[in-house]
Protein backbone atom coordinates (compact mmCIF):
# COMPACT_ATOMS: atom_id res chain seq x y z
CA UNK A 1 0.00 0.00 0.00
CA UNK A 2 1.01 3.59 -0.37
CA UNK A 3 1.21 6.35 2.26
CA UNK A 4 1.10 10.02 1.33
CA UNK A 5 3.06 12.18 3.79
CA UNK A 6 1.94 15.77 3.35
CA UNK A 7 4.70 18.36 3.67
CA UNK A 8 3.69 21.82 4.83
CA UNK A 9 6.22 24.61 5.11
CA UNK A 10 7.57 24.03 8.60
CA UNK A 11 6.65 20.34 8.84
CA UNK A 12 9.56 18.62 10.50
CA UNK A 13 8.43 15.09 11.27
CA UNK A 14 7.67 14.42 7.60
CA UNK A 15 10.89 12.44 7.13
CA UNK A 16 10.19 10.49 10.31
CA UNK A 17 6.74 9.42 9.15
CA UNK A 18 8.16 8.53 5.76
CA UNK A 19 10.95 6.52 7.38
CA UNK A 20 8.49 4.59 9.53
CA UNK A 21 6.19 3.81 6.59
CA UNK A 22 8.86 3.04 4.08
CA UNK A 23 11.86 1.65 5.91
CA UNK A 24 10.33 0.13 9.01
CA UNK A 25 7.04 -1.09 7.55
CA UNK A 26 8.36 -1.67 4.06
CA UNK A 27 5.37 0.02 2.46
CA UNK A 28 5.37 2.52 -0.35
CA UNK A 29 5.42 6.18 0.68
CA UNK A 30 5.51 9.53 -1.08
CA UNK A 31 5.89 13.12 0.01
CA UNK A 32 3.13 15.46 -1.13
CA UNK A 33 3.98 19.16 -1.12
CA UNK A 34 1.21 21.32 0.35
CA UNK A 35 0.68 23.19 -2.89
CA UNK A 36 -0.13 19.99 -4.76
CA UNK A 37 -3.68 18.81 -5.22
CA UNK A 38 -3.06 15.16 -6.00
CA UNK A 39 -2.31 12.49 -3.42
CA UNK A 40 -0.50 10.47 -6.08
CA UNK A 41 -2.81 7.52 -5.67
CA UNK A 42 -2.04 7.02 -1.99
CA UNK A 43 -4.18 4.69 0.11
CA UNK A 44 -3.64 6.53 3.38
CA UNK A 45 -2.65 10.07 4.29
CA UNK A 46 -0.39 11.20 7.11
CA UNK A 47 -0.32 14.81 8.22
CA UNK A 48 3.02 14.85 10.05
CA UNK A 49 4.24 16.74 13.09
CA UNK A 50 6.22 19.93 13.09
CA UNK A 51 5.58 23.64 13.13
CA UNK A 52 3.68 24.40 9.95
CA UNK A 53 4.12 28.10 9.18
CA UNK A 54 6.12 28.32 12.38
CA UNK A 55 2.94 27.67 14.38
CA UNK A 56 2.65 31.42 14.23
CA UNK A 57 -0.83 32.76 15.00
CA UNK A 58 -2.15 29.34 16.16
CA UNK A 59 -0.97 25.82 15.57
CA UNK A 60 -2.29 24.57 12.25
CA UNK A 61 -4.24 27.76 11.57
CA UNK A 62 -2.51 28.73 8.36
CA UNK A 63 -1.76 25.23 7.06
CA UNK A 64 -5.43 24.40 6.77
CA UNK A 65 -5.68 26.85 3.86
CA UNK A 66 -3.05 24.99 1.83
CA UNK A 67 -4.33 23.74 -1.52
CA UNK A 68 -3.65 20.13 -0.54
CA UNK A 69 -6.19 20.36 2.27
CA UNK A 70 -9.10 20.39 -0.17
CA UNK A 71 -7.83 17.11 -1.53
CA UNK A 72 -7.26 15.69 1.93
CA UNK A 73 -10.77 16.73 2.94
CA UNK A 74 -12.28 15.04 -0.10
CA UNK A 75 -10.19 11.92 0.56
CA UNK A 76 -11.41 11.88 4.17
CA UNK A 77 -15.04 12.40 3.18
CA UNK A 78 -14.66 9.46 0.83
CA UNK A 79 -13.66 7.29 3.79
CA UNK A 80 -9.92 7.26 3.15
CA UNK A 81 -7.77 6.77 6.26
CA UNK A 82 -6.12 9.99 7.47
CA UNK A 83 -3.76 10.18 10.43
CA UNK A 84 -2.82 13.53 11.95
CA UNK A 85 0.17 13.39 14.27
CA UNK A 86 0.84 16.31 16.64
CA UNK A 87 0.86 19.32 14.32
CA UNK A 88 -1.08 17.18 11.87
CA UNK A 89 -3.75 16.68 14.55
CA UNK A 90 -3.80 20.44 15.16
CA UNK A 91 -4.30 21.03 11.44
CA UNK A 92 -7.21 18.56 11.36
CA UNK A 93 -8.83 20.48 14.22
CA UNK A 94 -8.37 23.82 12.49
CA UNK A 95 -9.70 22.36 9.26
CA UNK A 96 -12.81 21.15 11.05
CA UNK A 97 -12.16 17.52 10.14
CA UNK A 98 -12.04 16.78 13.84
CA UNK A 99 -13.85 18.69 16.61
CA UNK A 100 -12.24 20.78 19.36
CA UNK A 101 -9.16 22.95 19.65
CA UNK A 102 -5.75 23.04 21.30
CA UNK A 103 -4.65 25.24 24.15
CA UNK A 104 -1.15 25.77 25.52
CA UNK A 105 0.07 23.01 27.83
CA UNK A 106 -1.17 23.82 31.30
CA UNK A 107 2.34 24.56 32.61
CA UNK A 108 3.07 26.64 29.47
CA UNK A 109 6.14 24.53 28.73
CA UNK A 110 7.08 22.32 25.81
CA UNK A 111 7.26 18.67 26.86
CA UNK A 112 9.33 16.05 25.12
CA UNK A 113 9.19 12.70 26.88
CA UNK A 114 7.70 9.24 26.76
CA UNK A 115 4.13 8.97 28.02
CA UNK A 116 1.66 6.11 28.27
CA UNK A 117 -1.51 5.91 26.23
CA UNK A 118 -4.45 3.61 26.57
CA UNK A 119 -6.06 2.45 23.36
CA UNK A 120 -9.77 3.16 23.88
CA UNK A 121 -11.21 2.19 20.51
CA UNK A 122 -10.14 -0.42 18.03
CA UNK A 123 -12.69 0.17 15.30
CA UNK A 124 -10.59 2.75 13.52
CA UNK A 125 -8.19 1.89 10.70
CA UNK A 126 -5.28 2.97 12.89
CA UNK A 127 -6.06 0.87 15.95
CA UNK A 128 -7.67 -2.31 14.77
CA UNK A 129 -4.59 -4.41 15.53
CA UNK A 130 -4.37 -3.15 19.12
CA UNK A 131 -6.51 -4.79 21.80
CA UNK A 132 -8.77 -2.38 23.67
CA UNK A 133 -7.05 -1.22 26.82
CA UNK A 134 -3.56 -1.87 25.50
CA UNK A 135 -1.07 0.55 26.98
CA UNK A 136 1.39 2.09 24.54
CA UNK A 137 4.60 3.85 25.51
CA UNK A 138 5.07 6.65 22.99
CA UNK A 139 6.83 10.03 23.10
CA UNK A 140 5.13 13.40 23.05
CA UNK A 141 6.82 16.60 21.88
CA UNK A 142 4.56 19.62 21.96
CA UNK A 143 3.83 22.93 23.63
CA UNK A 144 0.15 23.05 22.73
CA UNK A 145 -1.43 19.69 23.26
CA UNK A 146 -3.99 20.68 25.84
CA UNK A 147 -7.10 19.41 24.06
CA UNK A 148 -10.29 21.37 24.63
CA UNK A 149 -13.88 20.95 23.51
CA UNK A 150 -17.10 22.46 24.81
CA UNK A 151 -19.04 20.18 27.19
CA UNK A 152 -21.69 19.19 24.64
CA UNK A 153 -19.04 18.32 22.05
CA UNK A 154 -17.20 16.32 24.65
CA UNK A 155 -20.33 14.43 25.66
CA UNK A 156 -20.93 13.60 22.06
CA UNK A 157 -17.32 12.46 21.55
CA UNK A 158 -17.51 10.15 24.53
CA UNK A 159 -21.00 8.89 23.72
CA UNK A 160 -20.06 8.03 20.17
CA UNK A 161 -16.84 6.36 21.40
CA UNK A 162 -14.60 8.69 19.47
CA UNK A 163 -11.90 9.19 22.06
CA UNK A 164 -9.30 6.83 20.64
CA UNK A 165 -6.34 7.39 22.98
CA UNK A 166 -6.17 8.60 26.56
CA UNK A 167 -3.09 9.51 28.61
CA UNK A 168 -2.70 7.00 31.41
CA UNK A 169 -0.21 5.72 33.95
CA UNK A 170 1.91 2.60 33.48
CA UNK A 171 -0.94 0.41 34.61
CA UNK A 172 -3.36 1.90 32.11
CA UNK A 173 -5.36 4.14 34.41
CA UNK A 174 -6.11 7.69 33.26
CA UNK A 175 -5.03 9.76 36.26
CA UNK A 176 -4.45 13.51 36.60
CA UNK A 177 -0.77 12.78 37.20
CA UNK A 178 -0.44 10.97 33.90
CA UNK A 179 -1.94 13.85 31.93
CA UNK A 180 1.05 15.75 30.55
CA UNK A 181 -0.68 18.86 29.26
CA UNK A 182 -4.05 19.36 30.90
CA UNK A 183 -6.12 17.86 28.07
CA UNK A 184 -9.77 17.50 29.00
CA UNK A 185 -10.66 13.92 29.98
CA UNK A 186 -6.98 12.99 29.43
CA UNK A 187 -7.67 12.97 25.70
CA UNK A 188 -4.61 12.22 23.57
CA UNK A 189 -6.36 11.32 20.34
CA UNK A 190 -9.80 11.25 18.73
CA UNK A 191 -11.50 10.24 15.50
CA UNK A 192 -14.27 11.64 13.32
CA UNK A 193 -17.77 10.24 12.99
CA UNK A 194 -16.71 8.12 10.05
CA UNK A 195 -13.84 6.82 12.26
CA UNK A 196 -11.43 7.02 9.31
CA UNK A 197 -9.81 10.31 10.39
CA UNK A 198 -7.67 9.98 13.54
CA UNK A 199 -5.62 12.68 15.23
CA UNK A 200 -3.31 12.31 18.20
CA UNK A 201 -0.69 14.42 19.92
CA UNK A 202 1.88 11.67 20.68
CA UNK A 203 4.31 10.57 17.98
CA UNK A 204 3.84 6.91 17.01
CA UNK A 205 6.39 7.33 14.21
CA UNK A 206 9.04 7.95 16.86
CA UNK A 207 8.25 4.64 18.53
CA UNK A 208 8.60 2.14 15.72
CA UNK A 209 12.00 0.65 16.48
CA UNK A 210 13.37 -0.84 19.70
CA UNK A 211 16.63 1.07 19.16
CA UNK A 212 14.68 4.29 19.71
CA UNK A 213 13.38 3.11 23.06
CA UNK A 214 9.96 1.77 22.04
CA UNK A 215 8.26 0.06 19.14
CA UNK A 216 4.76 0.51 20.54
CA UNK A 217 3.79 3.02 17.87
CA UNK A 218 4.14 0.48 15.11
CA UNK A 219 0.67 -0.88 15.80
CA UNK A 220 -0.94 2.24 14.33
CA UNK A 221 0.84 1.76 11.03
CA UNK A 222 0.33 -2.00 10.98
CA UNK A 223 -3.34 -1.46 11.67
CA UNK A 224 -3.90 0.73 8.65
CA UNK A 225 -2.00 -1.73 6.47
CA UNK A 226 -4.32 -4.48 7.69
CA UNK A 227 -7.38 -2.30 7.28
CA UNK A 228 -6.54 -1.54 3.69
CA UNK A 229 -5.65 -5.15 2.93
CA UNK A 230 -9.00 -6.26 4.35
CA UNK A 231 -10.76 -3.67 2.27
CA UNK A 232 -8.91 -4.72 -0.88
CA UNK A 233 -9.89 -8.36 -0.38
CA UNK A 234 -13.58 -7.47 -0.31
CA UNK A 235 -15.40 -8.33 -3.51
Amino acid sequence: MKFAVVVFPGSNCDHDAYHAARHVLGQDAVFVWHKETSLQGADAVILPGGFSHGDYLRTGAIARFSPVMNTVTAFARGGGPVLGICNGFQILLEAGLLPGAMLRNKDLKFHCEHVHLRVEQTDTPFTLRAPVGQTLRIPIAHGEGNYFAEPDVLRDLEASRRVVFRYCDTSGIATPGSNPNGAVNNIAGICNEGRNVVGLMPHPERACEPALGSADGLVLFESVVSALAAQASLP
Binding site: L57, I62, L103, K106
Partner: protein, 80 residues
Protein backbone atom coordinates in the same frame (compact mmCIF):
# COMPACT_ATOMS: atom_id res chain seq x y z
CA UNK B 1 -6.76 52.48 7.21
CA UNK B 2 -5.77 50.71 10.38
CA UNK B 3 -7.92 48.03 11.92
CA UNK B 4 -7.25 46.60 15.32
CA UNK B 5 -8.45 43.10 16.11
CA UNK B 6 -8.55 41.78 19.67
CA UNK B 7 -8.87 38.05 20.01
CA UNK B 8 -9.68 36.59 23.41
CA UNK B 9 -10.47 33.14 24.68
CA UNK B 10 -14.18 32.65 25.32
CA UNK B 11 -15.16 32.89 28.96
CA UNK B 12 -15.87 29.16 29.08
CA UNK B 13 -12.32 28.29 28.09
CA UNK B 14 -9.68 28.00 30.76
CA UNK B 15 -6.78 30.33 29.97
CA UNK B 16 -3.52 28.72 31.15
CA UNK B 17 -1.46 31.79 30.33
CA UNK B 18 -3.76 34.22 32.12
CA UNK B 19 -3.91 31.91 35.11
CA UNK B 20 -0.11 31.68 35.31
CA UNK B 21 0.25 35.45 35.13
CA UNK B 22 -2.37 35.96 37.83
CA UNK B 23 -0.58 33.46 40.07
CA UNK B 24 2.74 35.17 39.48
CA UNK B 25 1.23 38.58 40.26
CA UNK B 26 -0.26 37.29 43.48
CA UNK B 27 3.03 35.84 44.58
CA UNK B 28 4.66 39.17 43.77
CA UNK B 29 2.25 40.84 46.15
CA UNK B 30 -0.28 42.23 43.67
CA UNK B 31 -3.21 40.86 45.55
CA UNK B 32 -5.47 43.54 44.13
CA UNK B 33 -5.28 42.01 40.71
CA UNK B 34 -7.99 39.43 40.29
CA UNK B 35 -8.58 37.60 37.08
CA UNK B 36 -6.12 37.99 34.19
CA UNK B 37 -7.01 36.95 30.65
CA UNK B 38 -4.46 36.88 27.85
CA UNK B 39 -5.42 37.40 24.27
CA UNK B 40 -3.94 38.42 20.96
CA UNK B 41 -3.86 41.77 19.37
CA UNK B 42 -3.45 42.49 15.65
CA UNK B 43 -2.93 45.69 13.74
CA UNK B 44 -3.87 45.45 10.10
CA UNK B 45 -3.14 48.02 7.43
CA UNK B 46 -6.17 47.75 5.18
CA UNK B 47 -6.35 49.40 1.82
CA UNK B 48 -10.06 50.30 1.88
CA UNK B 49 -11.83 53.57 1.18
CA UNK B 50 -13.95 53.82 4.32
CA UNK B 51 -13.99 52.82 7.95
CA UNK B 52 -16.94 50.53 7.28
CA UNK B 53 -15.19 48.72 4.50
CA UNK B 54 -12.02 48.44 6.58
CA UNK B 55 -14.07 46.92 9.36
CA UNK B 56 -15.71 44.50 6.94
CA UNK B 57 -12.37 43.27 5.66
CA UNK B 58 -11.02 42.94 9.19
CA UNK B 59 -14.09 40.98 10.26
CA UNK B 60 -13.77 38.59 7.36
CA UNK B 61 -10.11 38.06 8.08
CA UNK B 62 -10.79 37.54 11.78
CA UNK B 63 -13.53 35.02 11.04
CA UNK B 64 -11.46 33.06 8.62
CA UNK B 65 -8.01 33.22 10.10
CA UNK B 66 -7.25 35.32 13.13
CA UNK B 67 -9.67 33.72 15.56
CA UNK B 68 -10.66 30.10 16.09
CA UNK B 69 -14.39 30.19 16.83
CA UNK B 70 -14.19 26.98 18.87
CA UNK B 71 -12.28 28.76 21.63
CA UNK B 72 -12.01 32.43 20.75
CA UNK B 73 -14.06 35.51 20.10
CA UNK B 74 -12.91 38.82 18.72
CA UNK B 75 -13.60 42.53 18.68
CA UNK B 76 -12.61 45.09 16.05
CA UNK B 77 -11.73 48.76 16.24
CA UNK B 78 -11.12 50.96 13.23
CA UNK B 79 -9.16 54.19 13.28
CA UNK B 80 -10.64 57.57 12.55
Amino acid sequence: MKARVFVTLKPSVLDPQGRTIADALHSMGYTGVGDVRQGKYFELDVDAPSADQTRAVAAEVADKLLANPVIESYRIEVDG
